[in-house]
């Protein structure tokens, strides 16, 4: 555990990517199995414990620490794991902690009632850095600036294998990755994975820059589709099996039995999951209701049936067609759908267009009359490549809606921003009062954040714990994708993807938007 704690600390504090990579590579090279495999699982977020959860840790600490003092400390530190590591009041004889492997074994096999005692004993025994690592391990929220991708890059560096090859086998592997390391060490063949029956990393798009990109791209090279407002999914159909994965590879089949029980054929498909009857997509809000449930309720299945609007095909039967150009894959997809009639799948139609200007106009009209999020552009010759490769797929989002809103409350951020008021609630006029319409994080420069933070401290009316109510004087230009009616908000309006475009230091609050202005946006969506 000591070695792993040192690694985590170094990763957390070293700003240089290369140095992080070197540290990871060295760790994987020097650490024996299965410890390094478990470490890899921790770093890539592949490890979860059934009973060791943040709530359990919190409960363990609250047996020893005053609850109010704990809450104040958490508010200050901004990171639950770190708060627990720092506040733990008992420091016994420090001694060696169990190895990472043994620790994970202990977490998995100790009964729920005995876990608090185990965790307390470990915390008391650990040195401060180990205590921090221990809590990070137990809560699963590392926040050390290491992506799964970086960990895999280290594996590639260590072994001389291609990163792409590692990504390929990744989703078929099991913790602690003994077969992966055996292959990377040159002691075994590449792990054998049934490629047609597992999750494959998705191909992602880049936002288009109208000024820079469009002039350089030839409209004839691209096909366009609407950008659908659902969630991206991958449907993996084997022989009599169906799995449904989110964009990150989480299995979400349980939440959507209406899909997995009603699809036929063998293929790996890429598309957008939507809800609605007769392939009429309902609002994202309705989809959200279903996403919030791990298991679908009967009411949801009836009122908000799910379907997938398919737009790409990775495997046709058992044949990997990812290297084929998009046009070929599209033909295969159309043929497959014709041969395998579906009640829960339809195809994302091609949007014919003359040139960029024509498409821009269609995009505008689509947003105004149908609430479409924008359009997708796909290079006709592009293979299906995981990740966000430049030049293949572009998203061209609708112009955001904009409203001038007044800052009402500010809250301290978490993590890196825990010393700043970086989380804002804003509102618009309803008669003579301001009513809240949304909340957003700050998305701008550190300099602006500091100025804003200063303004908030100087203009606080009252504080409720971590939240400050401020004078209703500062105006934000808030951009958002759409507005919806909401019974949960006092204003009756909820914004989708609100973000703060800029701070209008110059604009008096009296000139901010009103609830009547918002009604127009609601009607348009």
């Amino acid at each position: 555990m000591k070695r792993f704690a040192q690694l985590l600390e170094l990763l957390a504090l070293t700003p240089s990517r290369n140095r992080k990579l070197a540290a990871l590579t060295q760790y994987f090279r020097e650490t024996p199995d299965p410890d390094r495999g478990y470490a890899l699982a921790v770093l890539t977020g592949a490890l979860t414990f059934r009973n060791v959860k943040p709530a359990l840790l919190r409960e363990t600490v609250l047996r020893e620490v005053d609850e109010t003092l704990f809450a104040m400390s958490y508010d200050y530190v901004g990171d639950l794991g770190e708060t627990i590591a720092l506040i733990w009041p008992h420091h016994g004889e420090t001694g060696d902690l169990p190895s990472l492997t043994d620790l994970i074994e202990l977490f998995n096999t100790t009964s729920k009632s005995d876990l608090p005692k185990l965790i307390a004993a470990l915390l008391t025994r650990a040195e401060i850095n180990e205590r921090w690592a221990l809590v990070k391990l137990a809560t699963g929220a590392l926040r050390i600036g290491v992506s799964a991708r970086l960990a895999k890059t280290a594996l590639a560096e260590m072994s001389g294998k291609d990163l792409q090859e590692i990504e390929e086998v990744w989703h078929g592997l099991r913790v602690p990755y003994l077969d992966l390391f055996a292959w990377l060490d040159g002691k075994a063949e590449r792990p054998d994975i049934d490629h047609a029956a597992r999750f494959h990393p998705l191909m992602l798009s880049n936002p288009i820059n109208e000024e820079k990109d469009l002039g350089k791209l030839d409209p004839k090279d691209f096909s366009a589709e609407w950008k659908w407002d659902g969630i991206r999914v991958q449907l993996v159909l084997g022989e009599g099996t169906a799995s449904l994965f989110s964009r990150t590879g989480d299995d979400i089949a349980n939440a959507f039995p209406d899909i997995v029980e009603n699809v036929h054929g063998q293929a790996v498909l890429d598309g957008e999951l939507l809800v609605g009857k007769n392939f009429e997509a309902a609002s994202f809000n309705d989809l959200q209701q279903r996403l919030n449930k791990k298991v679908a309720s009967t009411k949801h299945l009836k009122d908000s049936p799910a379907f997938i609007r398919v737009y790409d095909m990775l495997f046709d039967g058992r044949e990997d067609i990812r290297t084929l150009p998009w046009t070929e894959r599209r033909k295969r997809l159309e043929a497959w759908l014709a041969a395998n009639p579906q009640t829960r799948l339809d195809i994302s139609p091609i949007l014919p267009f003359g040139g960029w200007e024509d498409l821009a106009q269609q995009r505008r009209e689509g947003a105004e009359s149908h609430g479409h999020e924008g359009v997708m552009l796909k290079l006709r010759t592009s293979p299906y490549v995981p990740g966000r490769l430049k030049g293949y797929w572009f998203k061209w989002k609708r112009d955001p809606n904009v409203v001038d809103a007044v800052l009402m409350y500010a809250q301290r951020g978490h993590g890196k921003r825990s010393s700043f008021y970086s989380d804002y609630t804003f509102g618009v006029w309803k008669g003579n009062e301001i009513v809240p319409i949304g909340k957003a994080y700050f998305g701008f420069t550190d300099e602006e954040l500091k100025m804003l933070d200063k303004w908030i401290r100087a203009n606080t009316i009252q504080a409720f714990g971590p939240v400050r109510e401020v004078k209703k004087e500062l105006v934000f230009e808030v951009a958002f994708d759409s507005a919806q009616e909401s019974a949960r908000h006092k204003s009756g309006v909820a914004l989708r993807f609100p973000r703060i475009n800029r701070i209008r230091w110059d604009k008096p609050a009296s000139e901010a938007g009103t609830l009547e202005d918002m009604a127009v946006f609601v009607a348009a969506s």
Binding site: L13, T68, L69, S73, L86, I87, R143
Partner: protein, 334 residues
């Protein structure tokens, strides 16, 4: 109990003197030389000789209309009020102010620490009825490790990375000299290099009898020769252009805030050194108990938690929200 002699702005009305005022006042009692306590422009200043020397070095000879030096432990009667300074152990010359008035004893702690530090006079406990305490690290998450352990981490990193220089961010007054002293005690005998902003105060410390060993200016050194060396600089300089003159520097910072890793990350500090010139949570609680004070006013930092704790102990406690000392999120002067 209400303490008539001192009000919530740390104003001693009977003698019309303010303690550590943030705006120029006719009469000011200054606990120590840090900028958020000692400002220039007061009419008359009462402080320890070391604090006066520090103020003159930082702000110039005429930074106050007149100075009156008062040594530790010497009672100074003014009308029916008696002022006495006791060492606060925070930085050289730092004092706690004892105010006695008709049998009432009030202590304004200023900033203080209880751990031994050879660059500052050692803290002395003063019993009182009303204690005005700082709360810079007034949360139970602050449990400072022993500073020598932190210095060992610095020395280990220097040994492990002989091709890099170690740039230690430390405030020019107090922290810099403390780090140098700790390095000397740990056996680091090589020259220690200083950013220009450190030099005057280090010289002053040495003039006032604190031995800091061989100190040299960092500016003007050949880059390659700085490999393996330790450099002390203000926190603002360690990540600035100034740091580019050193070979692949390891950015270190010596501060009590460094115990919070997310803060260290935020400040781009690669080697955080938890070295504080303030009490940690345990020491604050210990001190409040030791003074036997029945009333505690809390200022400078995370007042809420300390006030809350005092009340759970049955003490009469209140936060002082003195203007100019508003919680700035924790990265203030130490």
């Amino acid at each position: 109990m209400t303490a008539q002699i001192l009000d919530r702005h740390l104003h001693i009305k009977a003698i019309d003197a303010f303690i550590d005022p943030s705006v120029p006042r006719e009469r000011a009692i200054i606990t120590h030389g840090h900028a958020d306590h000692a400002r220039s422009g007061h009419g008359a200043v009462l402080a320890t000789p070391d604090t006066i020397a520090i103020m003159k070095t930082r702000y110039g000879e005429d930074c106050a209309g007149q100075f009156q030096a008062l040594g530790f432990g010497v009672p100074l009667p003014i009308d029916d009020v008696t002022i006495t300074f006791f060492p606060a152990g925070h930085v050289l010359g730092s004092a706690q102010v004892l105010i006695e008035h008709r049998g009432q004893r009030v202590v304004v702690s200023g900033d203080y620490k209880r751990l031994a530090d050879r660059t500052s006079q050692p803290f002395e406990l003063v019993e009182c009825d009303l204690l005005v305490t700082e709360a810079t690290f007034g949360l139970p998450v602050f449990q400072h490790p022993h500073p020598q352990l932190e210095i060992r981490r610095l020395l280990k990193s220097a040994a492990d990375n002989p091709e890099r220089s170690h740039l230690v961010g430390a405030y020019a007054l107090g922290k810099a000299q403390r780090v140098i002293g700790l390095l000397r005690d740990a056996g680091w005998e090589r020259p220690i290099y200083l950013h220009g902003a450190m030099i005057r105060l280090c010289e002053l410390y040495q003039e006032l009898g604190v031995d800091l060993g061989d100190l040299r200016p960092a500016t003007g050194m050949v880059k390659a020769e700085m490999a393996g060396q330790i450099v002390i600089a203000p926190p603002s300089a360690i990540r600035d252009r100034w740091s580019r003159r050193f070979p692949d520097p390891v950015v270190c910072q010596a501060s009590g805030w460094m115990s919070v890793k997310q803060r260290a990350r935020q400040a781009l500090v690669e080697l955080p050194l938890v070295i504080s010139d303030h009490c940690d949570w345990g020491e604050l609680l210990q001190t409040i108990g030791d003074t036997k004070a029945e009333t505690v006013w809390v200022t400078h930092g995370r007042e809420d938690a300390l006030v809350y704790w005092c009340r759970t102990q049955g003490l009469d406690a209140e936060p002082l929200n003195i203007q100019g000392f508003e919680d700035d999120g924790g990265e203030g002067v130490e």
